[in-house]
Symmetry: C2
């Protein structure tokens, strides 16, 4: 009749370490209760990765309690018991009657819990990017004596430096991304449809490598082929590859919520002079950026190493050069962009994303997922930095 805790990606001590860091930040901001509505932060503090976040659910972190309390929909409670590191008494299921009730929802259950725990007049942290405006109105009206304190992105800033255990999982994700790029080289062929190739590449992301399957496909794939190489976020189309087609591919491995992104460019037949020229400049820029990575350097330093290198050869890139990378793909903290003075520390991880959408109808993609090492850079993805010629 009951479900047991399943295999865990991390030991209990790892979750307690993460929670200690979050509680330290809570203490610094003088709050003793935090409502975590960001799904990636919930994954970080519990191990939960099931896809139930399309209805309200929240993690309550309290200074006075070792384990957080996860409040979620009744039918999702078994998945939480199975996946989370906490004791099952910390999984609080709210009734299904709150789903699709246009007056009350799961956030009412969260408020009820806070009131019953005697916290209604406390300083309570809330995350204002993951919380809908409508739900914030509810918190304000139903918790009039509480002081709601903006805790937006604070947990994400803690997540930015990974533990060795997290790095090991991201390395597994990176190996999957490698395999998906290799699969692309096998299946992108003239006459093949973009969808059929995407099916094979997506399957490679799920099968994984070395007995470590992808555990989800958060990043889906982005396969932007001629005449769409100037676009970046169309998964694929109903078109068929042709001789002369260029294919920009972004893939990602996923392990236990952690992602590793990777981009490469393919050419069916010899690349055009323009494509080859851009490729050479971009790879030089990529290597300059990686060469600038070391503890103490800033995100801005890394980005400008890239920008300066390509600008010398007449190429520019308008978008940022990447972002903090881990749970749920883009972490909303540091970016590899001019002016981001975030100082690099060992075990920070980034997707060095050098996709360059130069014209409406021409772009080029290359990227790596890396971690900052003790002395420089450790690139987790390992594919050759070439145009994959088909």
């Amino acid at each position: 009749m009951t479900i047991s805790r399943g295999p865990q990606a991390f030991p209990r001590s790892e979750y307690l370490r993460r929670l200690a860091a979050v509680k330290f930040e809570m203490a610094r901001r003088e709050i003793d209760t935090l409502i975590v509505s960001d799904q990636d932060n919930i994954t970080y503090m519990t191990g939960y990765t099931a896809r139930s976040g399309y209805v309200p659910q929240a993690l309550l972190v309290r200074a006075a309690e070792e384990e957080p309390t996860f409040i979620l929909r009744r039918c999702d409670a078994p998945a939480a018991i199975y996946q989370c590191f906490m004791d099952r008494t910390k999984i609080v299921a709210y009734p299904e009657a709150l789903i699709a009730d246009h007056k009350r929802d799961g956030y009412d259950a969260v408020v009820d819990h806070i009131v019953e725990a005697g916290l209604a007049n406390h300083r309570i942290g809330v995350e204002l990017y993951s919380l809908p405006a409508k739900s914030m109105e509810k918190f304000k009206s139903r918790l009039p004596r509480a002081t709601l304190v903006d805790f937006t992105n604070a947990v994400a800033w803690i997540r930015i430096v990974k533990s060795d255990l997290e790095i090991a999982v991201m390395r597994e994700a990176a190996a999957i991304a490698d395999a998906a790029i290799m699969r692309g080289a096998e299946v992108i062929r003239p006459g093949v449809s973009e969808a059929d190739a995407s099916a094979e590449i997506m399957a490679a992301q799920i099968r994984g490598v070395n007995g470590k399957p992808g555990t989800d496909v958060y990043g889906t794939i982005m396969l932007c082929a001629s005449p769409r190489t100037g676009t970046c976020h169309i998964p694929w189309t109903e078109d068929v590859f042709r001789v002369g087609s260029q294919v920009n591919l972004e893939v990602g491995g996923t392990r236990h919520g952690y992602c590793a992104g990777l981009m490469r460019t393919y050419s069916i037949g010899a690349p055009s002079d323009r494509l080859r020229g851009v490729h050479e400049i971009q790879v030089e820029g990529l290597e300059a950026a990686l060469g600038a990575v070391r503890p103490g350097a800033t995100c801005s330093d890394v980005a400008n190493a890239f920008y300066r290198t390509i600008e010398k050869q007449g190429l520019t890139k308008e978008s940022r050069c990447g972002y903090a990378h881990g749970i749920g793909w883009v972490e909303p903290t540091a970016s590899l962009r001019d002016g981001d003075m975030t100082e690099l520390k060992p075990n920070m991880t980034f997707h060095l994303m050098l996709g360059n959408w130069i014209d409406e109808d021409f772009g080029y993609t290359i990227s790596e997922t890396f971690r900052v090492s003790d002395t420089g850079v450790d690139v987790l993805t390992t594919m050759p930095r070439k145009i994959f010629e088909i």
Copy 2:
């Protein structure tokens, strides 16, 4: 240097019809400007399905303008020009410098556009479930003379009745869901890993059928096998199927943003008496629910036809029996639940979702995607209503 509009899933007249309905609702609420931040509503009114909504983007619908204006990130503008029905002058790109700037973001570009258009003192509709609390604060502070009117879910209520053109696309999506369930019957085998089977099922969702590939995989897949049949939203695990395993599978076809969901249950070896018993009751309930579908009946009628049928045989189901279904999976409007008095109209579409997670360690899944026809029901998915025995 420029990209042209790509193949369109719907004719221009279809988008103008949808926009006319939205503008009518705007007029009823006395607003002449609407900020659409819900990604599914953007798809509905433009055809845009690229996956760029992780950064701010918004559609501006104005009573005085035939076509809406889509404000999005510079690097995503080519995809919008390619996918949207509007003239390219209606695609407004904001600079990449607004990405990951911790002070200003894409919503500042939206506000700037509103101010420059002379609308800053108008009544402006906003969608409060898709808008982060943080962004609503920005709208309030930067548009102090505007009256911000809650337009939450109003567009979704318009979307609930589909056109024949939309039904045709959903039928294509349903055929893909059918194919994915059939693929499940081929690949679920003792000794096969859940991930390897999921890779094949996902690939089937992308390859599609009849020359109509899946255009995305919004719903991913949910493959919950013994001992996790009491969970509903874990995509798959690292486990291997065994003789005696039960597998609950939820798949979805996706065409141009429109989904069709489908669930079936598999058994490796003969099903247990309990599973067979639950299956028979649930199928009887499913048929009773479908039998209750007709214009003029309510969502509550359909749900209660199911609940009453299974309760007669000692089975209950706590969760709702389904939801309005179309763009982006769950539509946030009508639910097949007790007390939902939404009156069924021809061409409303639902996922009749009868997943029943009875115990923590035992559940059963079956579902169909249907439309309300002129006289009764038209079930879009077509798989046999059986336990798939392997």
